[in-house]
Amino acid sequence: MGGFWSTTVLDFFIALGVVLGGSLLGGIGYLFGDEPPMSKMVHLADQLKIWAMVAAIGGTFDAIRAFEINLLGGQLEEVAQQLAFIFSAFIGAHTGYLLIRWLIQGDW
């Protein structure tokens, strides 16, 4: 169970890091590209959310494959774990997006 929690937390932080890092460095890129950096960063964070989840759970194909094998094999506990990882990654990515949005727009 220790492995489950550490993986869940890791997925959360990986997704969070992808969104935060991607948006902040992307903002610098926009600055060099003569575009308004802050408003573009919010869009970038939104677009990065899905890729952050994919990066956190280690590629969609593997996750779906594991999901299918466990489901067909009747190992519902493993299926629930996979779902928890995906959910954790989603929460991480969404937290990153919300942090960027709050930082830039200053509203909840």
């Binding site: 902040l24 460095l25 903002g27 610098i28 600055l31 575009e35 308004p36 950096p37 802050m38 408003s39 960063m41 930082l103 830039i104």
Partner: protein, 175 residues
């Protein structure tokens, strides 16, 4: 010796990477510090671009309207028709005099009204003491002397009054 160099080079690499990370951290900090102001300036710039484009479009439209008006004015200020009135005591031949005078002043068609009204001498010079001949059915020629009496502009029509006198009559008048 080699180990020392390796350690030193590793240290250098670490320093370079740390410097690079510091650079990125600095850039991010600066971005967060000045980002809002930059966004505001970008917004202002795009608003100014838009306003400038609108002004340019308006200027172009006004320019086109001015050109159109100028062209219209130019065409309305040209002489399109010359109407000749003959002042003469002659009973017959007035139509022929009119037609001959019309031929004489024909080059003025298409010329500017302003130009002719500023230089009426031109018309007078053409018609002053101009002699034309009228021929009757018996092939007898009558000598007619012309003199410009008045000119008037009615829109794009130039109206001229020409006095036509028989040569003999003219001599009498001269005496």
């Amino acid at each position: 010796m080699r180990t020392d160099r390796l350690i030193r080079s590793r240290g250098l690499i670490r320093m370079a990477v740390s410097f690079f990370f510091g650079l990125i951290a600095g850039m991010v900090a600066m971005l967060l510090w000045t980002g809002q102001k930059l966004d505001g300036l970008y917004l202002e710039r795009s608003a100014l671009y838009y306003a400038n484009n609108q002004k340019n479009k308006e200027i172009l439209r006004l320019q086109q309207e001015l050109d159109k008006d100028a062209r219209r004015q130019e065409s309305s200020e040209q002489i399109h028709k010359i109407q000749v009135e003959v002042i003469s005591s002659l009973r017959y031949g007035q139509e022929e005099i009119k037609s001959q005078v019309e031929t004489l002043v024909d080059p003025f068609i298409g010329k500017s009204v302003t130009w002719i009204s500023n230089n009426p001498d031109l018309l007078e010079t053409i018609l002053r003491n101009r002699t034309i001949f009228l021929s009757d059915d018996n092939n007898r020629k009558t000598e007619i002397r012309l003199r410009l009496k008045y000119i008037a502009f009615i829109g794009s029509t130039l109206k001229i009054w020409v006095e036509a006198l028989e040569a003999a009559e003219t001599e009498k008048t001269a005496d």
